[in-house]
């Protein structure tokens, strides 16, 4: 048997799903669609003690069965095409009116529906009573009060469902008792003649001129248009869509609510209102948001927690202050990683393994996998913070506060969160784009995320910049971050005008009542993220590290050579593609294939850019034996690679900037590409996105380098021409279209209500 859970966003749908299926849930993908559907198994124990497995499907949260958001289309298609045996419609009793709007639509389908009335405890606290038995009588289906968190209620619900699923149900509509009854009956008769499944649902959708419906059957739609014309005769066209939506709501407010809801005392959502008075305040809203965001990043990334060192509150040995939670946990992970690597190495040595096998396992596989794994605590912390923000209801307020700023780029406020996360790590940031409504918006946000300089890239800046800019490294590094943001803005505008032409984000967003985050649902979400992360690490990352290791250690006749030596495949490859980078400045000179190789290994993990340069430029004191204590190795590494770069005069200021800009914008690490692939769910789009990152990096580096050269070498007239061209380019990017005249609403509109 298959049961589907349908309901409004924020109605406790996912919590119910998790209570039903426990850890049996797995995320499945719909073919060709970008929104997740979850499927799990509930073990139902019959009275004779036999256990039946019921598969439970968590449909995306929807307000209606109109075909306008991806979520709605999925839910609608699932119910019609996949034919679940029963729909559990979860209804938030604190918001009965809008939740029942969906219920009345679900009832139009030929499928048994059971209403699970959620948050009954909250409504009681707010001073109202809901008579669920009367509600059941009016709707003609079972209504079970549940609290999605209590298992006893869930058992009761499932008992009722298994009982009810045996009685086949025909769709029914409230319309038969309204002013539109006559038209509705006639259309229904016409639909019945065509022998269509779910006749009631289709009849109403046809009456509404639903865009998907009208495409299905041309003769049927033509017949219905004629029928409608008969009724209109000489009067102005009748707006069925608005009228039916209106009647639906009227049915709920007039026929259901007065009989079902009894308000004893009206406290409403008073406390939530008080919180909003500060959090979305016209003046304080923005500062409070900034402080909250900073606090999250501080807890995850700061090496000077609460600024004890900076403010001189406490004395610390060494360069750092108190570790924040994220840094502390990362330290433990690094310790663990070193332990595993040293001992595996030792074990293999003692067991008499071949050198190449030892190298492949320790330097290739373990090193690559562990370097990513060390970020696990910070990634989980980031997701914990985000889950809390989301569960409490603050996330939609962030979107509310920032929507205005992002609108110019065709994005909505919701796109801000993933971008912000990009400063930490692109991988969770890209996963965060799942919450975005439109596919275009999701893709665009995903493409912009790598431009927000991530934590791993910081290692490169800290190494390269001081080698060239000795006295003002901090300022230059700050400028790198600004450059990233600037490119993201320019990229957004360019994308909006080309690839995503016509991208328009609507912003109709419910601001739910604040609630305490629930431990159960948060831990569940974290567990899901952890599973996903570990899968990526053990598959994609493990495979790719082995490949890079192989290329570093073997020559073309497959003999093992010392890492990154002149005859390794990687070097030959680097030389072969060097021409691509010549116009960017930093590939000049016989030795600079090494920078190409550094960039290439950076595709695996951005930290690898530094370690590769360290090996290739034979940095003094650089530990080629990576099994040292990593903490020392990192701080020592940055110092010594920097010195080596300076001593070898690898960079001029200009080539350094070009190199840094290229690394900032180019294809992020393998993990990010793999994540992009799984989020985009399309190979074609993944290739395009990779191309976009590469092209942006190349073009911007090219502009930076060539402009620098021109400014240095060329005469005044050419400089003016150059500046003129740049101004024209910028102007064409930022140019705005003229505003069209707005409709102010009058009676001449054929479709006005």
């Amino acid at each position: 048997m298959r049961f589907a859970i349908a309901g409004n966003p924020n109605s406790g749908k996912t919590t119910l799903f998790n209570s039903l299926t426990g850890s049996n849930a797995h995320v499945g993908n719909w073919p060709g669609v970008t929104v997740d559907k979850k499927e799990g198994v509930y073990r139902f124990r019959h009275s004779n003690n036999t256990v039946e497995k019921i598969s439970v499907i968590d449909l995306p949260g929807i307000y209606s069965l109109s075909p306008y958001t991806p979520e709605e289309v999925i839910a609608r298609q699932f119910i019609m095409d996949e034919k679940p045996d029963l729909i559990i419609n979860i209804v938030d009793s604190t918001n009965l009116e809008r939740n029942l709007y969906l219920t009345t639509q679900l009832l139009e389908m030929d499928v048994p529906v059971v209403v699970a009335l959620n948050m009954m405890d909250v409504i009681k606290r707010e001073g109202s009573i809901i008579d669920y038995e009367v509600l059941s009588q009016i709707l003609g289906i079972p209504v079970v009060p549940v609290s999605a968190l209590k298992s006893g209620n869930v058992k009761l619900l499932m008992n009722r469902c298994v009982e009810y699923v045996k009685t086949p149900r025909k769709g029914s509509s409230f319309l038969s008792s309204t002013a539109l009854a006559e038209q509705y009956e006639k259309v229904l008769k016409l639909v019945d003649e065509h022998n269509i499944k779910h006749p009631v649902f289709h009849a109403i959708k046809l009456l509404e001129n639903d865009s998907i419906e009208l495409m299905h059957d041309a003769t049927l739609s033509a017949g219905i248009q004629n029928l409608k014309l008969e009724y209109e005769k000489n009067e102005k066209p009748f707006d069925y869509e608005a009228e039916i939506a209106d009647l639906r709501y009227k049915f709920i407010t007039n026929n259901i609510k007065p009989q079902v809801v009894k308000v004893l005392k009206n406290t409403g959502a008073a406390s939530s209102e008080k919180i909003d008075r500060i959090l979305t305040h016209r003046l304080w809203g923005l500062p409070v948001f900034l402080v909250l965001m900073f606090a999250i990043f501080h807890i995850i990334f700061s090496k000077d927690f609460l600024f004890f060192k900076s403010f001189g509150i406490m004395e610390f040995d060494g360069p750092d202050g108190l570790s924040s939670l994220g840094i502390l946990l990362k330290g433990y992970m690094e310790y663990f990683q070193n332990f595993v690597m040293t001992h595996t190495d030792l074990f293999l040595k003692n067991a008499g393994a071949y050198d190449w096998a030892r190298g492949a396992i320790v330097d290739g596989l373990l090193k690559g996998v562990c370097s990513v794994l060390t970020f696990l605590p910070q990634i989980l912390l980031l997701f914990l913070s985000l889950s809390i923000l989301e569960d409490s209801g603050y996330m939609s307020r962030i979107a509310f506060i920032l929507d205005r700023a992002l609108r110019r780029f065709g994005l909505s406020g919701k796109a801000f969160i993933p971008m912000l996360m990009g400063f930490g790590c692109s991988v969770p940031a890209m996963m965060g784009t799942r919450t975005l409504e439109s596919v275009k918006e999701k893709r665009m946000t995903l493409m912009l995320i790598p431009f927000f300089s991530c934590g791993a890239k910081m290692v490169i800046w800290a190494t390269v910049v001081p080698a060239v800019f000795k006295n003002n490294a901090d300022f230059v590094i700050f400028c790198i971050y600004i450059t990233g943001i600037a490119v993201a803005i320019i990229g957004a505008i360019a994308l909006k005008k080309t690839v995503f032409k016509g991208i328009k984000s609507n912003f109709v967003l419910e601001l739910p009542v604040y609630r305490y985050p629930r431990l159960k649902s948060i831990s569940f979400q974290l567990w899901e993220k952890l599973k996903g992360f570990l899968t990526t690490v053990t598959t994609v990352i493990a495979a790719s590290t082995l490949i890079i290791w192989f290329l570093q250690n073997f020559d073309t006749s497959l003999n093992m050579v010392s890492e990154n030596s002149d005859s390794c495949i990687l070097k030959i490859f680097g030389d072969a593609i060097k021409w691509v980078f010549v116009p960017l400045g930093f590939a000049h000179g016989p030795d600079n294939w090494k920078l190409i190789v550094a960039i290439l290994t950076g595709l695996l993990a951005k930290e690898a850019v530094v370690s590769t340069m360290g090996v290739l430029y034979k940095a003094k004191g650089y530990a080629t034996d990576t099994h040292d204590s990593d903490a020392n190795a990192i701080s020592g590494k940055e110092e010594s690679v920097t010195t080596a770069l300076a001593a070898n005069a690898v960079f001029t200021p200009l080539t350094a900037i070009s190199f840094v800009v290229f690394n900032l914008l180019v294809i992020p690490c393998f993990a990010a590409v793999a994540t992009a692939r799984s989020e985009l769910k399309s190979a074609k789009w993944t290739f395009f996105v990779i191309f976009f990152w590469f092209a942006t990096a190349w073009i911007i580096s090219f502009i930076v380098y060539q402009t620098g050269v021109l400014l240095k070498e060329v005469n005044l007239i050419n400089r003016i021409i150059g500046v003129f061209i740049i101004v024209i380019i910028l102007f064409s990017i930022f140019r705005r279209k003229k505003k069209k005249n707005k409709c102010i609403g009058c009676d001449k509109c054929p479709k006005g209500i």
């Binding site: 109109s66 939506a245 509310f400 406020g413 609507n506 912003f507 419910e510 609403g745 006005g752």
Partner: protein, 80 residues
Amino acid sequence: MENKLLGEFKPGEKGTVEKLTVLGPLRRRLLDMGITPGTEIIFNKVAPLGDPVEIRLRGYKLAIRKTEAEAVLMKKEDKS
């Protein structure tokens, strides 16, 4: 009682919906969210950057952009 677009309301003002003046998906979305003729809407507040706006209807809070609020023609209730 005067007719006025919801987008031109000031914080604290309220009224009832007259009609929607847009077509297509946005219209459907607004209808689905409960903005149907006769619905009472309170204009709560404006976001810190001046847009979007927060409205209250049918017992819940909804954020919509000003351009979207301008698609809703209201009958404004006089202040008592």
